[in-house]
């Protein structure tokens, strides 16, 4: 048994072990051997991620509602995305995903939502920033409060019912975000903490001055879309038209609050240009059916390989199972969001995984017919099949790249999903067909002399 074959065999076994571990876990972590109770060296959630078409949910494509031809700065788009994400989270939808796509669009995904209409209408709302007098109450951050400021539309989320079923308190809105002129973050020289500086319009200065003079020591809550984002206390009367919000801010929280104050309304107006809803039942059914199709396809391919190629076919079958194990582990680690076309791409790549082996085995048979001994034939089969395997798979990979770019610019996650799984499938199949199959075949030949019979090779 030669050395490199042994090394490959060990590598393959280790990779298989890791992959099986990943395939059957929801989370993987490595414990630090020097500190058993400390935090793990490495930890990662590897739960299978299903796309919206499989688990149900809402996907929308939002576009900056600006005249055609005008540009939207990437900072503005990113800020919009952040604000929208906060709003969506406030609705109680879990795992909201928002990504900017291109220079004026945002793709938003809401897995498992039951009320797509509400989610969409809340996204399209412009945010309302209010300074609310809550007297001595400090409402918890993130809670929803009621105010007396009339809005055109109802707040996005229903107010939390107060305890004991009593009516929730309606607080007075002193001022809205309209009156803010400038917002900045700075570090206070004495305390070393971060503060938010603001200046107000003339009208705002008057209102704010009167109110703060009368209410020193009380709480002035700041709410965005009726949701509390901060509840600072009034330390002194602010009549100059400029002031500071102090609190336990880090540089990040101060900047976030400043952004919210600045962009109470979105920096760019948005409109929904595309929305897709998939019901959960349809998704479940699709998963079940496509998995079924996958098993059947894999089974038929295995039977064919065994009948036609005999011993190498058996080895290729082992490699194919390895291929499925490796691919699934990769999907979970990267992670790849599995969509229905994505699964189709994966099943299709099973056929491709076999193609590389078929190319090699046909070559192997030819070399055997040409009178070479088995070992020579195996090595020649591999080295001669390689250029065509390399060149042909490159063409498929080029297509995958084009598909990916196409899918990405429109938030077409179905197209994207297909291209990713197909490309990964091509990559993994090259590894299993070229390295795994050859190593297994050599190992088998080393240990079983009786297999050196042409019939085992389908001749």
């Amino acid at each position: 048994m030669n050395r490199s074959n042994t090394n490959w065999l060990i590598t393959i076994i280790i990779l298989l072990a890791i992959s099986i571990w990943v395939d059957f876990s929801k989370e993987i972590s490595l414990i630090n051997p020097f500190n058993l109770n400390g935090s793990p060296l490495f930890s990662r959630n590897v739960d299978t991620k299903l796309g919206l078409d499989l688990r149900g949910g809402l996907q929308t494509l939002l576009e900056a509602d600006v005249p055609a031809g005008s540009t939207v700065s990437s900072t503005d788009l990113e800020t919009t995305r952040q604000i929208l994400e906060k709003r969506a989270n406030a609705l109680g939808v879990s795992e909201v995903q928002m990504q900017t796509a291109g220079d004026r669009r945002i793709v938003a995904e809401f897995p498992g939502v039951k009320n797509p209409e509400e989610v969409i209408s809340s996204l399209q709302q412009t945010g309302l920033l209010e300074f609310v007098a809550t007297d001595t109450t400090v409402p918890p951050e993130g809670s929803i409060i009621q105010t007396d400021f009339a809005t055109g539309s109802a707040p996005a989320a229903t107010p939390a019912p107060a305890a004991n079923g009593s009516q929730p308190t309606v607080y007075h809105t002193v001022m809205t975000g309209k009156e803010l002129v400038t917002i900045s973050v700075s570090k206070a020289s004495i305390s070393g903490k971060y503060v938010i500086n603001f200046t107000l319009t003339n009208a705002g200065s008057k209102t704010f001055g009167d109110f703060t003079t009368a209410n020193v020591g009380k709480i002035l809550t700041i709410a965005l879309d009726k949701r509390v984002i901060s509840a600072p206390s009034i330390n002194s009367a602010i009549t100059s038209g400029s002031g500071q919000i102090t609190g336990n801010f880090t540089v990040d929280t101060a900047n976030t609050l400043a952004a919210q104050l600045k962009y109470g309304s979105l920096p760019v107006p948005i409109k929904v240009v595309e929305s897709r809803t998939v019901g959960a039942t349809l998704g479940e059914e699709s998963v079940r059916k496509s998995l079924m199709a996958g098993y059947i396809g894999l089974g038929v391919v295995i039977i064919f390989m065994l009948l036609y190629y005999r011993l190498p076919g058996f080895v290729a079958t082992l490699a194919l199972v390895g291929y499925a194990i490796f691919s699934l582990a990769l999907f979970k680690i990267i992670p790849v969001v599995l969509t229905l076309p994505g699964i189709a791409g994966f099943i299709l790549s099973i056929g491709m995984a076999v193609d590389a082996n078929i190319l090699i085995f046909e070559r192997l048979k030819e070399e055997l017919r040409a009178g070479r001994n088995l070992r020579q034939a195996i090595d020649l089969g591999w080295s001669r099949a390689w250029p065509s395997i390399r060149d042909s798979n490159t063409s498929t990979l080029i297509t995958c790249v084009i598909l990916y770019i196409f899918g990405n610019s429109f938030g077409a996650s179905m197209v994207k999903g297909f291209s990713i799984t197909l490309a990964l499938g091509v990559g993994v199949s090259l590894f299993t067909a070229i390295i795994v199959t050859r190593t297994f075949l050599h190992t088998l030949l080393d240990n079983l002399k009786s297999v050196e019979h042409p019939r085992w090779f389908g001749l």
Partner: protein
């Protein structure tokens, strides 16, 4: 086995498949101004699938409720399975859809489940259509460039590129033609997944051509004396087992998907099946013979022949 000898017969078979497809594309064009119906992914609009818990109301009732809430949206309603409808219309917003579903539930007294709802603005659709054209063009150019590069060591590398791209265009036309025929009879619509299938077929088509060309490349180094025709034919025959076996394994998996994979991807899978079959055919019976036609400059004979037959 001499495949090259009958090359014009195989070209004819290709034409016999492609021409009806083109005829149906024209028929569709006359009806709807596109070669085949395009889904809302390209045209913009809305698509709603609703399932009724009890008995399904009549199409007319659904249509009148739909129009009552969303006037001038030209809804077209098709039954789906036993208890559901698929409704295509001009674009309606999510809010409008909510109202329609609520109203349907109220008037029919059944519980309604929204299986799927998509709404695409026409401007996005137009952009997707443009991008689709660019993607296909880009794929063709990338393949031509890649093959010319991969075969740079061989005489006339560019010919291999052109032959592979010609075979690829053959497959594109077969797929488009089959889509046009299916659309004509079964009212299928080409959506973003159809485009994905088409681009995949492009990749596979070139994949197959390269496997055959690779053999020609290799044999050209080994057998320097034999005529080019024999060389190409020999290469085709040598790779034939592989071509058929790979074809079979891919077909097995695709058939499994078509039969058991559910309705959502059936259209996609059938297009892939057609395209991949065509890809294997064209690599053997079109791409490689084109090399021979080019080597012999046979178009000069075509011209002469036609002159003689006219005379």
């Amino acid at each position: 086995m001499n495949i090259i000898k009958n090359r014009y017969l195989y070209f004819l078979i290709s034409l016999l498949v492609i021409i009806p497809g083109i005829v149906f594309m024209i028929l569709n064009w006359i009806n709807i101004k596109t070669p085949f119906p395009l889904a809302i992914d390209f045209t913009g609009g809305s698509f709603l699938e609703v399932q009724f818990s009890g008995s399904r109301p009549a199409v007319d009732q659904v249509k009148s409720i739909f129009l009552q809430i969303a006037p001038d949206t030209a809804p077209s309603i098709q039954p789906l399975g036993e208890d559901a409808y698929a409704i295509r219309s001009k674009r309606i917003e999510d809010g409008t859809k909510g109202q329609i579903v609520a109203q349907l539930g109220k008037q029919t007294g059944t519980t309604i489940t929204v299986l799927t709802f998509s709404s695409v603005s026409p401007s996005v659709g137009a952009e997707v259509t443009n991008a689709a054209g660019i993607a296909i063009l880009l794929a063709a150019i990338a393949m031509l460039a890649y093959i010319s590069y991969a075969f740079r060591g061989v005489d006339h590398a560019f010919r291999y590129g052109v032959a592979a791209v010609t075979a690829m265009l053959h497959d594109v036309f077969v797929v488009l033609g089959v889509e046009a025929i299916l659309a004509y009879f079964l009212h299928w619509e080409a959506d973003a997944l159809f485009l994905t299938a088409l681009l995949t077929v492009i990749g596979f088509s070139v994949h197959d051509s390269i496997v055959v060309f690779d053999r020609v490349r290799e044999n050209a180094h080994v057998y320097r004396r034999i005529p080019y025709e024999t060389l190409v034919n020999h290469s085709i025959v040598q790779t034939l087992d592989r071509s058929i076996n790979t074809q079979l394994t891919v077909m097995f998996t695709l058939f499994a998907l078509a039969l058991f994979g559910g309705d959502t991807i059936r259209h996609f899978v059938i297009i892939l099946l057609v395209g991949i079959f065509s890809g294997t055919y064209s690599s053997i019976f079109n791409a490689a013979p084109i090399l021979v036609v080019w080597e012999n400059r046979e178009w000069q004979t075509w011209f002469r022949k036609s002159e003689q037959s006219e005379a």
